[in-house]
C-alpha cells in the first residue's frame, strides 16, 4: 500500500490522503458502499464504478458460505467473480458470525459456531479468517477480532465489564496470529488492518492502542471496532477521538459501521479516513432518499405529483436523467427498478458528502463546509448535541454564527421534519 497525506485541515484533525492499492488509487476520506454478497443491490460492478466509487466492501462471513472459497479461487478471486476492477475491503467475518449465529463460543483458538449448512461445530480461527480473505483476494483485509460474548437478548456486543478487557487482549493475540499467517503467505499485495478494541472503557482503549501501535510496521492500517453497537453517541465520539488522536498519522484509519451523514462528517473531523455502512443502500429499498436537506421518504403521498427530481444538482443517474419524485413514489417498493434508482442516488449522496469534505480540506475551508452542511441538513429543527460537542473538541463551533439554533440532546435526531420539503 502507498499511503500519502496530501492536506490537513488547519482547525480539525481532518485530512485528505491518497491510498494506492493493487486495484488503483482511492482518495480519502471516503465512504465504502457494502456489497455483502458480491453485489450492490441490483447494480452491476460497472454501474457502481461509474458513480465514482473506488472502494467497496464484501463480507467474508457471507462469501465463505456462498459461493465458498473453492469457487472464488476457480474464478480468480472476488474481483473477477463480481467483475469489480477497483479496490475491495473485507471484514474478518467475526462480527457477522457472532451476530448471525445464536450459539457462538469464543475460545483462545477462535470462534466456535454451528455451520448454518450442516449444523456441524465449525471453528473460525484468525488464520482461517485470513486464509478466506486470501481466497477472496481483497486489497484490505481485517484481522479477526474478539467482539465480545454475544448476549441472546441483545443484538449488540458488550462494551463494558471484565469480558471487554479479555476480548481486547485476545484481539491483540489474534492480531499477532493474523500477522504471522499473512506474512508467511507472501501475499504482500493484500494489506492487513488491525482493529482497536476495548469497548467504551478509555483505559482499555489506551492499552489496546499501546499494543497495536507497537505493531505498526507489520500492519497497513487501523480500524476502530467495538462501536456503533448502540452506545450513546456522546460516548461514541469520545472513543473515536481518543483512537484517532493516538493512531499513527501515516496509517489510514477506518471507522466500522458508520453511515449517517452527520456521523461521517464528525468522524472525518476527528481524523477518520474510511467508513462503511449498509444504511444508504438499505434505506433506499424502503423508499428513503438522502439529500443535503435531510432524508426524504418518497413513499409519502406528498410526492405523488411532484415532477422534480430528488435533487436537481445531484449528478447520479437517477437525478441527472430527470427521474421525478412522482415516478419514484409510484414504483418504490413495487418495482426493483425503483430500489435501484434510489440505491444509485444514495450511494452518490454519501460520496458527495465525503467528496465535499475532501474538497474543503484541500481548500482550507473544512470548518465552513461543516457549518453549511449542518445548517442545510438540520436547519431550524435542531442540531444533535453530540455533534456540537464533538466538533467543538476539534475547534469548530457549529453555533458560532447562529446562537439561536435549537440543540437536541441525547442520541435521537428525529426525522419527521426532514420530509418537510
Amino acid at each position: 500500500m502507498e499511503f500519502e497525506v496530501l492536506a490537513r485541515c488547519h482547525t480539525t484533525r481532518a485530512r485528505v490522503s491518497r491510498m494506492k492499492l493493487a486495484h488503483g488509487v482511492t482518495m480519502l476520506p471516503t465512504f465504502m458502499p457494502v456489497a455483502t454478497q458480491a453485489a450492490i443491490k441490483g447494480l452491476t460492478a460497472q454501474q457502481v464504478e461509474a458513480l465514482g466509487i473506488t472502494l467497496i466492501l464484501n463480507n467474508t462471513y457471507h462469501l465463505n458460505l456462498r459461493p465458498g472459497t473453492e469457487v472464488l479461487k476457480e474464478a480468480g478471486g472476488a474481483h473477477q467473480f463480481q467483475g469489480w476492477r477497483r479496490n475491495l475491503l473485507t471484514d474478518s467475518g467475526g462480527f457477522q458470525l457472532v451476530s448471525l449465529n445464536k450459539f457462538t463460543k469464543i475460545t483462545e483458538e477462535g470462534a466456535l459456531f454451528e455451520s448454518p449448512f450442516t449444523g456441524e461445530p465449525t471453528m473460525l480461527t484468525p488464520e482461517e479468517s485470513i486464509s478466506i480473505q486470501h481466497a477472496i483476494g481483497s486489497d484490505i483485509m481485517m484481522q479477526l477480532d474478539d467482539v465480545g460474548k454475544f448476549s441472546h437478548s441483545l443484538l449488540h456486543t458488550l462494551t463494558t465489564g471484565p469480558r471487554v478487557g479479555e476480548a481486547m487482549w485476545r484481539t491483540i493475540r489474534w492480531l499477532d496470529r493474523c500477522i504471522e499467517f499473512h506474512e508467511k503467505s507472501g501475499r504482500s499485495h493484500q494489506n492487513l488492518f488491525a482493529i482497536v478494541q476495548g469497548g467504551i472503557d478509555s483505559v482499555l482503549r489506551d492499552q489496546c492502542l499501546n499494543e497495536m501501535i507497537k505493531r505498526k510496521d507489520r500492519v497497513a492500517g487501523y480500524a476502530i471496532g467495538g462501536l456503533s453497537g448502540g452506545e450513546e453517541k456522546d460516548v461514541f465520539w469520545r472513543i473515536i477521538k481518543q483512537c484517532a488522536d493516538r493512531l499513527p498519522a501515516d496509517r489510514p484509519r477506518y471507522s466500522m459501521g458508520i453511515g449517517f451523514a452527520e456521523d461521517l462528517l464528525v468522524c472525518v473531523a476527528l481524523g477518520v479516513d474510511m467508513a462503511d455502512c449498509v444504511f444508504p443502500t438499505r434505506t433506499a429499498r424502503f423508499g428513503v432518499a438522502l439529500t443535503f436537506s435531510g432524508p426524504i421518504n418518497l413513499r409519502l403521498g406528498k410526492h405523488a405529483a411532484d415532477l422534480q427530481p430528488i435533487d436537481g444538482t445531484c449528478p447520479c443517474p437517477t437525478c441527472s436523467d430527470g427521474t421525478s419524485r412522482a415516478m419514484l413514489h409510484h414504483i418504490i417498493t413495487l418495482e426493483t427498478a425503483g430500489a435501484h434508482a434510489l440505491t444509485q442516488h444514495n450511494i452518490v449522496f454519501e460520496a458527495r458528502v465525503m467528496g465535499g469534505a475532501r474538497e474543503a480540506i484541500m481548500n482550507g475551508n473544512f470548518p465552513d463546509y461543516l457549518k453549511t452542511f449542518f445548517a442545510n441538513y438540520f436547519g431550524d429543527a435542531g442540531y444533535p448535541e453530540w455533534c456540537v460537542n464533538a466538533l467543538r473538541s476539534v475547534g469548530v463551533d457549529l453555533l458560532e454564527d447562529r446562537p439561536d439554533t435549537k440543540v437536541i440532546s441525547g442520541d435521537g435526531t428525529v426525522w419527521e421534519y426532514s420530509d418537510r420539503a
Partner: protein, 527 residues
Amino acid sequence: MTDPYSQPRFIPNIALRSASSAELPLFGPRLARLGVQRPDGSPPLEVYTPALITATSRGVVPHLSRDHVRTTQAIRWVHVPFESLYALRVTPHAWELYVAACNPDAVVALSDTPFTPHPHSQKRLTKSIERSAIWLLETLKAQKKGAIPVAEDTDIPQGRHSNVFVHMAGGGSAQARTAFSQSMLEPLETRELEQLKPLQRLDDGVAGYIFDLVPLHQALSAKERTAPSIPDESHNAMNTITPRAEDSSHTSPELQNLLKASLHDLPPHKPRLVNSARSPHEILRLIRDVGIDLFDGHWAQRAADIGVALDFCFPAPAHSAEPRKSGILGPRRRDDGANDLGHNLYNAAYAHDHSRLASCYLDTVSSQKNADSAVSPSAGLRICPCAACSPVAPSAYITHSSVDKLSYTDEMGPPESKRYLPPFTRSYIHHLLHTHEMSAHSLLVMHNLSVMDAFFAGVRSVLESPSGGDTFGEKVDEFVQMYDESMVVFDEATVDWAEVERARGKGRMAREKIKQAESSLGRALDL
C-alpha cells in the same frame, strides 16, 4: 393512403411500410419498417419488423435502472405503461401531467377482457365488444384533448397524434372478434364525427392492433377443461411475473383463426402486436401464418425472473452439436433429442461453471481474442451485446472532489474508445440467485432481451433472403425440431425459484424492517 409524416393532424404518425416493393400481405410473414415520427422534430424512431417490444410494469422495464435501459440495445421501443395511464385518467389534470411527463409515442386503449371463467356467454361477449369500442372512443377523445398545451412552460407539441393501439376484443369467438373489427370500420355518429375530426371511423385513429394471448389461450383450453386457478402467492413480491402453471402446448390452428378473424377486414398496413406469446416456437408460427409484426418480451423477461439464461438462436445451428464448438457448454439436451432454450442457473451444476451465459453467442472480449487467432473454434457466432455478456468500462466517472482525478490515471481512467470487460459468468449469477441478489435479474433481463432481439434479427435476415418465405418455413421447422417447446427447463427453474423464494419466506420483509429500525437507531423514518 395519406402520408402521416407530413401531417401534424390528429391521425396516427406511426406507419408500417413494406421492406420490399411488394404490398404487405394480409396474412403470412411480413418484413417491414415501423416508423414513428416524433412530434418534437427529433429523427424518426425506426424499428425493423418482425421485432421485439419490451414489456413494462408501472412505466419501468422490470429490474432495470434507467442507465441499463439506455445501454440495452434490444430495448428500442418501450411498451407504453397503460395501467399507469388508466390510474391517472381519473382526473383530467393528472392526465395532463402524465402526458407532460411521459409524452409517449403511443398509448393503448383499454379493452374489456372478461376475467370470469371461460367460456363466456354470448351476452357477455357482446357486452365486452360494445364496451371495448366505447373505451376506444374515449381514449381517442382523451388523446385529442391532449393536443391542448397544458401549461405555458411545457413543451408539449401542439398537434398530438392519435397513436392509439387497440386490444382486439371478442374473446374466444371468431364471430365476436369479426364483429368488433367491423364496429371499428363503421362511420362515426355525427357528434363523435365532430369531436374526433378529421377521423371518419374509429379505425382511422388507430395506429395498430394488439392481441393478448393469455386470455385467448385460456379461452381455448377452457373448451377442454376448467382453467386452472393459480394461487398467486407472489402477488406482492417486487414485480415478479407470476410463473405460468399450465402446460405449454403448440399454437393451435384455432388460435390462429381467432387472430385472423380480427384482422381479416382491417387494413393490412397497420402494425400488429402480440402480448405474452408462450415460446419462440409460437412467435415463429404467428409470424409465418398470421403475419404478426411485434411481440412483447414477456416470455424472456419471465425467464429472467425465474433464473433462466436464454441460449438459442434462429436459424437453429445446422448441427445440434454446434453450440459446443465454442468450448462452452450448450443447454441441456432432453431424452427426446430436443435442446433446452436456456440454462436454469439455479441448478447446482452452474456453481462451478465460469463461462459466459450463452453458448450460441460470443461475449465481446472473447470475440476480440478470437480475432487475433486465425483458427477460431467459435467463428461465425454472433456477439451478445448485453451488459452481462459484453460489459463496458464506464466511459466517464462522477468525480466528487478535484483530487479524485488521482484515482483515474493511466489504465484506470476513462477509456478513449469503448473498452469491453470480461463477461459475467453463470457461476456468478448462480450465486446471486441463491443469495436473493437483485442484480441476478438485472443481468438476466438484459441478456434475455438481447437474445430475443438477436432471434428477431435472425428472422428478418431469413425473410430478406431472395427465397424469403419458403426458406423461412424450412427454418421454422428446423427450429421447432431442435428446441424443446414443452420447456421443461422453465418448469424446473420455476420449482427452484419457488423453493428459494419460500426459503426466503414472508419473514424477509419483516426482517428487513427490523434491520432498518436497528440501523436508524431509534430515528423515526416513518415507513
